[in-house]
Amino acid sequence: MSVTDAFLRSPAQSVAEPSPRPSRLREGLLAACLLAPAFVFLVAFVYAPAVLAFALAFFNFHPGGTATYAGLSNFHAALSDPLFWRSMANTGLYALMMVPSTLVLSVALAALLQSNRRLFRFAQSLVVLPYITPAVGTAIGWLWMYNPNFGILNALLRDVGLRPIGWLNSPHWAMPAVVLYSLWHGIGFDVLILLSAMSQLPEGVLESARMDGAGPWTRLFRITLPLISPTLFFIAVMTTIGSLQAFAQVYALSLSSGGPENATLTALLYIYQQAFTDGQFSYAAAMAAMLVVCIFAVTALTRWIGHRFTFYQ
């Protein structure tokens, strides 16, 4: 580092590092030592396996522990496997139902629950609570609510004069039932970050709109929502990614089968079944690789769409 460089550095920085040259090296070493523990874990369980995951798909493993090069055969097998396509279609359908309903419901709930009064804060807590509860534990209550004969949902339908639904027993209704459960379980997080975004809005804008005679609906749709569009965009991206990775909810609600008639067999559940029920590691790895590519592609697309419709202050 030259003398001029030392002059050009900001005063705060030069105070923080009183003697540049020897301490630079020392600090570099110290930084390496302090970062090492985290990176040992990250390399071992994130970076290396991410590379390995793709490599695994190009080999076939045998019980003896040997592996033979398989080329693209695992990918070919997956692409001609009707169940793989079915599981991908189910995953897409799930995401298509989840994303819009999450956005609409979380905005509606946040608008309703936005208040600092005790009762509203209590209601906010009740909406968030399911988010931290275990999926299998709470799925049991839902399985009971979805029971076609004795469940409360069909009791309600009968009360209002509608025909009862087969819910998880019906190939037609099973996926919407899973969506309803997932909304219940996850929407608290979205409501909470919306509430936190709304509380940070500039007071003046909403106040002057009120002065100018804008009603609550106008304020919500014309001011609040455009101003929090980055948060809405964040929710859309996170829900999309989360939906494409749906596992615990379908595992619990279909008793690990993906039924009825494979109606709730998501990609990840099928990959899990192939890998750990049938021992087809390489085949599962090839499908996982394709799922990851899909997730990346959809995320990139969502980001591209989002940036066009998002208003940044």
């Binding site: 705060a12 920085q13 590092e17 630079r24 570099g28 110290l30 302090l34 970062l35 523990p37 985290a38 874990f41 071992a44 369980f45 994130v46 991410a50 390995l52 995951a53 695994l56 309703l112 509203f120 209601a123 906010q124 807590s125 009740l126 909406v127 968030v128 931290i132 509860t133 275990p134 999926a135 299998v136 534990g137 799925a139 049991i140 209550g141 609510m145 469940g151 409360i152 009360d159 219940w184 608290g188 997080f189 909470l192 970050i193 936190s196 991206v237 996170m238 990775q245 596992f247 615990a248 595992y251 008793l255 690990s256 890998a275 750990f276 590691f281 599962a284 790895a285 996982a288 990346f296």
Partner: protein
């Protein structure tokens, strides 16, 4: 007119909030009903307070062991992950070094890699290390918490820079500054991170399901899922078991509502 609107809004908010509690409440009622009140139409909504199913279910399976396993796994993960998190976030904020941007990008990239893609290779690693069906296998993959690093880094960036400068001028080294100033000032956020790791361990399903096979080392959610797939018609037993897994999390939420909510609302800044 105004007051009616306000009362209606409050009533609607309360009703919706309680509706979110309903699925848990239904399992609660079913688990505490007398057997003749379970299969009835319309559904029973007030429990009979019959605890015999709880006792029976508790004795019929190794719940205590599963809860102990979960707590041991969670505490070990918290100890390791908090240590790596503190060291990593401190370095990112306070120590200048070459390649910080590259490192930061590498950390951001972790958020883009779906955890599920890593399950199979990680299973292969555990098999190679002879760690399949152990508690260690459920701990070490979570030894670094990206969520923790981001949350703590955000917090450290809000601390006044002058603390650091003053400490350095007084001859206080990095490690002393970290231990005496940064850690005490970050206690609330570290507590929030620890809570999230605990909740994550309590609720984790897919990885323990893959990497374990014996109840000796399995956490509660796995035991519950085995029970569910094997005994799916025993509604009362299942509901009681669901309470064993869910009530501790509800208690945690009641006790630590504020730090939990704080962590959730701050986590939106990670990607945005």
């Amino acid at each position: 007119m105004r007051t009616i609107g306000r009362v209606l809004r409050a009533a609607l908010a309360l009703a919706l909030g309680l509706a979110f509690l309903l699925p848990i409440y239904i399992a609660f009622v079913t688990s505490l009903d007398r057997p003749q009140d379970v299969f009835v139409y319309p559904p029973h909504l007030v429990p009979d307070w019959n605890f015999s199913v709880w006792v029976q279910t508790w004795r019929g399976n190794t719940w205590m062991l599963a809860i102990l396993n979960t707590v041991v796994i969670a505490l070990a993960t918290i100890a390791i992950a908090l240590t790596t998190t503190v060291l990593c976030a401190y370095t990112l904020v306070y120590i200048p070094f070459r390649g910080k941007t590259v490192l930061w990008t590498a950390l951001l990239a972790v958020l883009m890699i779906p955890e599920q893609a890593l399950l199979i290779p990680n299973f292969v690693t555990m098999a190679k290390l002879h760690l399949v069906d152990t508690r260690i296998a459920q701990i070490i993959p979570y030894g670094a918490s990206i969520f923790g690093v981001f949350l703590l880094r955000q917090h450290l960036l809000t601390l006044p820079r002058e603390y650091h400068d003053a400490a350095r001028i007084d001859g206080c080294g990095h490690l002393a500054f970290l231990w005496r100033i940064v850690v005490p000032l970050s206690r609330p956020i570290l507590f929030t991170i620890a809570l999230y790791i605990f909740i994550g361990c309590w609720n984790s399903l897919i990885w323990p399901l893959m990497v374990t096979s014996s109840p000796r080392v399995q956490p509660i959610e796995v035991l519950l899922s085995t029970f569910l797939t094997q005994d799916s018609s025993n509604w009362q037993g299942l509901s009681a078991a669901a309470m064993f897994a869910t009530l501790p999390m509800i208690a945690l939420f009641v006790l630590f509502r504020k730090p939990i909510l704080r962590g959730l609302s701050k986590s939106s800044g990670i990607n945005g």
